[in-house]
Amino acid sequence: MSLKSKSISSKNSLNEDERLKKISPLRVLLNRPELGALGGSILVFIFFGIVAGDTGMFSAYGMLNFLDVSANLGIIAIAAAMLMIGGEFDLSIGSMIGFAGICIAIPAIYWGWPLWMSIVFAFAMAVLVGYFNGIMVVKTGLPSFIVTLAMLFILRGLTLAITRLITGRTQVPGLRVLIEDDPLAWLFATDTFKWLFTWLGSLKLIELRTDGTPLATGIPPSVIWFIALTLFATWILMKTRYGNWIFASGGDKVGATNVGVPVGRVKISLFIGTAVASTIFACIQVLDAGSADTMRGTLKELEAIAAAVVGGCLLTGGYGSAIGAAFGAIIFGTVSMGIFYTDVDTDWFKVFLGAMMLIAVVFNNYIRKKVTESK
């Protein structure tokens, strides 16, 4: 964007720089990490528009459905993307989701804590886990892949062991009744813009139930969180000093340290970020389902990384974007839901996911070469 505005403004300014080659907007776009994911999203929408356009996938209810799935994945994908830009991985995201779930459910159901306190407790645990991951990686210099793989097993094991020890089961139901009147839970459990849907329903613009209320009742909380986090992460990356430090830490750890970037602190904070995002994910899911399940979030870390990679993050760090990861999540969410509306067997979803990721990596590799080569 800045490239474009510069080439336009320099035409009018006094110190015109005739050496500045005019760069077409297309060229500017080509150099952005989001491009692949943006193009991919458009293709996916066109595809389902043709294949499943008349099946109800693009009704208000259908759209909210796939947006909800995309948004849930997006919440963790954005945090994973920021960590990847900072040069590290977190494989414990999925396990953290399960762990955060029981951190909310067990105190609330078995110890009689108010729900808001359990939620605060879950976030506190997330900060601890993230801090531990970060400090281990920074202090030992071990690859984050290994450290967080260990954490993947430890957290999942802890989740299972503690839950069975306290409850004798692997699921903790009964949360739904606690949501009402809780001062904090509404943040993760309220559909918004209900008036809009009621209004659209009264105009018969969207589908109605037999009792006259609209089928889609409001924007789910996941979507609001997703949008807010995308904007927040993008603001951080593009517009703040800390954002520059994230790019620098991932791009060249030694160089960044030499010019005074607190690389260790940046990385630790990013690990805390992924753990906290996992907990947001867990809050939304647990409060929506009304129960915590020890296996919740399994394999989510890989989906989050896949979305980040499709969104243009390099596996080596130092390059990528939050908006890209958001589009990556939208692609996966749309396809995973859209596939139900087509005649294709849902078993093929994973094939698609893998192929998409492979294409994205090849494409990103090409882009990186383009960026670092002389033009």
Partner: protein, 265 residues
């Protein structure tokens, strides 16, 4: 007040039993370019790290503008104005010129807690600074990876100067460069010195050092073999000192002597 901007007096550094540096002394005036010459393993890297505050010297003292200084970290050295440009330059190829220029020291604007990186200001300064040294940054938001080796070197030096370096320590700034690129960098170094900076140019290339240097310190096996003013020493003499040429000369003299005695008998 002494004439010297910065003095490194009798610096020694030991790693266990290994003597990495012993009694190295260097004194620089404003506007002076001192070339530190030495072959591989002469202790150049250790000396640079000691100057930059990475290592604490085990013996000796550092005097900056007549004050004795002890560095606890690289930041201390930066803060008083010793800017070190390492061989790897501390540049990230995937990041833009501006983002690299201000890496770690980004200008900010806005209210507390919501401060933003002032990209416009940063772009302007980066473009101005690169323009001053005659480098055509077509656009400061282009990636550093698109620049030539010489341009990157100049960017790193220019960054160090912008952030208040009074003493520039340059580690092998021309080693990976072709003739044209190297001369561009050397030209810039001379210009920086003419504006009042003291420059320590570390290199093993006498041909790059001799034309720009005012004085030359030769390092061999951790010891200084002395500092020489340009008028006192020739390029050939420097070269032979660096390569341990004196030892070879001595050997040659001894051989001739033996030969002479042999012939007499």
């Amino acid at each position: 007040m002494s004439d010297y901007l910065v003095q490194f007096n009798n610096i020694s550094k030991f790693f266990g039993k290994v003597i990495a540096l012993k009694d190295v002394t260097m004194r620089l005036k404003k506007g002076e370019i001192m070339c530190l010459l030495g072959d591989n393993g002469a202790g150049k890297s250790t000396l640079i790290k000691t100057l930059a505050g990475v290592h604490k010297p085990d013996e000796g003292e550092i005097i900056f503008e007549d004050n004795k200084i002890v560095f606890d970290s690289p930041k201390d050295a930066l803060d008083i104005g010793i800017g070190t440009v390492y061989q790897d330059l501390a540049l990230v190829p995937l990041m833009s010129v501006t983002r690299n220029f201000f890496m770690g020291r980004e200008p900010q604007k806005g209210i507390p807690f919501l401060k933003t990186f002032d990209v416009e200001k940063a772009n302007k300064i980066a473009a101005d600074r690169m323009g001053q040294i005659g480098i055509d940054v077509r656009d400061p938001s282009q990636a550093v990876g698109t620049m030539s080796g010489g341009e990157r070197q100049c960017l790193a030096i220019s960054r160090a100067i912008y952030f208040g370096a009074k003493v520039l320590v340059l580690d092998e700034p021309t080693s990976a460069l072709g003739v044209h690129q190297a001369s561009m960098v050397l030209k810039y170094i001379v210009k920086a010195a003419s504006e009042g900076l003291a420059v320590i140019l570390i290199t093993h290339n006498v041909h790059h050092a001799y034309p720009v240097g005012n004085s030359f310190t030769v390092l061999n096996r951790g010891k200084s073999m002395g500092t020489f003013q340009k008028k006192d020493i020739s390029r050939e003499k420097l070269l032979s000192m660096m390569a341990g040429g004196e030892e070879l000369d001595k050997l040659e003299v001894e051989l001739q002597e033996m030969d002479r005695i042999h012939n007499k008998n």
